[in-house]
Structure formats: C-alpha cells, structure tokens
C-alpha cells in the first residue's frame, strides 16, 4: 500500500550561488585583491572602461587582472591582454550570465599573489546577471546614452542591485537627442545609495570621477 506525505525542503536554489560568491570574495581578500564586476548591454563601453582603469592603475604601480565573460569568442580577452595584464576568458556558451562557479574556475588561472585589482566583465545582458552575484566587492553597471533615455526605467532591477552606475558616451548625447540627466534622475530614484558617474570613455572625460567613485 502507499500513502501521501508532505516533506519540507526549504532549499533556496539561488543561495548556492551566493555561497560560492562569498567563497570567491574570501579567496580574493586572502590575497588582498579588490574586485569589481561590470554589467551592461553589449557595446555600452565596459571593455573600454576597464582598459582605461587598468592603464591608470599601471601608472600608479598597481597590478590588475581581468576576467572576460562572453557568449562566444575572445575579443574582449585579447583587448585586455594587450594592456599587459593577466586575464582569463570565460565563454558561457548558451548561458546568459556568469555565475560564481565559473568565476571560481577563472580565479584558478590567475596569479592571485601578484595582483591588486580584479576586473570582471559580465556577459552583455541586463536581466539575468542580477540573480547571480560573483563575489566582487563593487558591482558597476555601464549604460550609454545611445540606448535611449528610457533605458533605466526599462531595466530597473540591474540598477537596484549595483553600487556604481556609469552613464557613458555623453559625447554622443546631443547627436542622439538624449538628456543624460533623465537617466541620472531615474537611476537615483531606483537606487539612492548608488554612486552615479557620467562619462565619455572614448575621450577620457569623467574618468577621474569614476576612479574616485571606485576608490582607485
């Protein structure tokens, strides 16, 4: 004979990733590394901004490393390596986000004893990475004015879960007829605790603001 029973599980599926993220953070701290992860749509300027920060740190005698996440290919990885830093490439294949487990493996390939800062570029997706922290200390979301002035309202969650919000390509604002202040106002409301930086990464304007927002 059979009977029906109710069994309690209380298992949070997203908690396993959070646990691994905490482990990554502990490992980074053991090596005195401060880590930043960059989110944002494809083409918003994430790689270019990381390149600028790496050069800035190098001029101050600090060593960086990078993890480049991409659905396929290694273009970003090649761009970063060209700046003379150790880097790891993660091709996620069909996955729409990096997760703490993938980052854990990438960390095995980096000379943790030799670096001061780590930059992680997430896959260009504004939805999925939100549920998967990686273990970085600061999460940065990069948007550009070319994505339109309703961009923040359309993807609010990513702004709520980031520490620094970069509004990039302000050199193109006039041509695009987009007012960066609208993006700034929307972002401020969703996340009043976040630091907001307006910049033009191509010409280096606003880079100093970002450097100080990140404490570099």
């Amino acid at each position: 004979m059979h009977k029906v029973v109710t069994v309690d599980m209380e298992k949070d599926i997203l908690a396993e990733n959070r646990r691994l993220a905490d482990e990554n953070r502990a490992l980074l701290e053991e090596h005195d590394i401060r880590a930043f992860d960059f989110l944002g749509a494809i083409g918003s300027g994430k790689t270019l901004i990381i390149e600028k920060l790496v050069d800035h740190l190098k001029s101050k005698g600090k060593e960086s490393a990078a993890i480049a996440g991409d659905v396929s290919g290694d273009d970003d990885y090649q761009r970063l390596v060209a700046h003379g830093i150790p880097a790891a490439n993660i091709s996620t294949g069909k996955e729409c986000h990096l997760d703490a487990h993938l980052v854990d493996h990438a960390l095995e390939d980096l000379p943790l004893d030799k670096i001061d800062y780590l930059f992680i570029e997430n896959v260009g997706n504004l939805v999925c990475p939100v549920d998967f922290p990686l273990g970085s200390h600061v999460r940065v979301v990069v948007i550009s004015v070319t994505e339109g002035d309703d961009m923040v309202r359309k993807h609010p969650a990513i702004f709520a879960f980031s520490d620094v919000i970069v509004i990039n390509k302000i050199d193109l604002a006039e041509a695009m007829q987009v007012d960066p202040r609208i993006l700034e106002r929307d972002a401020r409301r969703i996340n009043p605790g976040a630091k907001i930086v307006k910049m033009d990464a191509r010409h280096g304007n606003g880079l100093d603001d970002l450097i100080s927002a990140l404490g570099l």
């Binding site: 009977k3 109710t6 069994v7 599980m9 599926i13 999925c128 939100v130 998967f132 879960f161």
Partner: protein
C-alpha cells in the same frame, strides 16, 4: 533567460529528495518565488514540464507562491516599497525609502526556494 538552468537545479534537488523517501510518484511541488528575482513564472512552469518528463515528477503540479519584495531603512521604515509611477503594474525594486527618501535595503524578495513537496511513498 535563465529559468531553464535554474529549473534544472530545482529538478535535481527534487529527484534527490524523492529518492530519499523512496517515492513512487510526486504529486505537487511548492516553490516560493521572490518578486525581486528575474525569474518568470511562465518560463519556470514551461521548463518544469519539459524537464520533469520521464521522471517521477512527470504529471505533478508546480505551485508557485510569490513572495513580496520588502525593504527597510535606517529611519525605521519597514515594508513594501512604493509603487513605480511609470509602471504601476510591474514589480520594480525601488530602493528609495517611501518615508524619508533615503537609501533602503532589501529584506525579502530575492528567494527561489523549494518549500515542500507531496509524495506518494510505500506504506510500511
């Protein structure tokens, strides 16, 4: 969309638990889903149907209970955040405290938890 990979993990957990109890069939699964997650109910249910095929989960019901997103602030505020003017029908995490406009913290709404399941087990 990451519902499919999240659901694969859920199914794995469910099959493991059912095995522990030597279940012959699963009747119903209860899942708590936070309003602040980026997981869609329809996509989760669709993934469940596909991934439960040819397992003892096939034909069982997935019941999803939505957990409200709540926030708290240093000023003493604790509760649901204010609805968004732009999209009053959509759940948007707005961390501006509705009382003092300062930055608030999330206290619930980010979970995706298997609460419990109803199993048919041998009566011995």
């Amino acid at each position: 969309m990451h519902e499919f990979s999240v659901m694969s993990q859920i199914i794995e957990g469910l099959l493991e638990e059912s095995k522990k109890w030597s279940a012959v069939k699963v009747e119903e699964v209860f899942l708590d889903l936070g309003d602040f997650t980026m997981l869609g109910e329809e996509q989760l249910k669709f993934s469940y149907e596909i991934l439960s095929k040819d397992t003892i989960l096939q034909g069982s019901t997935l019941t999803i209970n939505h957990v409200k997103g709540t926030i708290e602030c240093d000023c003493g505020f604790k509760g649901e955040m204010s609805p968004s003017e732009d999209s009053p029908h959509r759940i948007v995490p707005i961390l501006e405290c509705p009382k003092c406009r300062g930055p608030a913290r999330i206290i619930s709404g980010r979970e995706c938890t298997i609460k419990n399941l109803r199993l048919v087990v041998p009566d011995v």
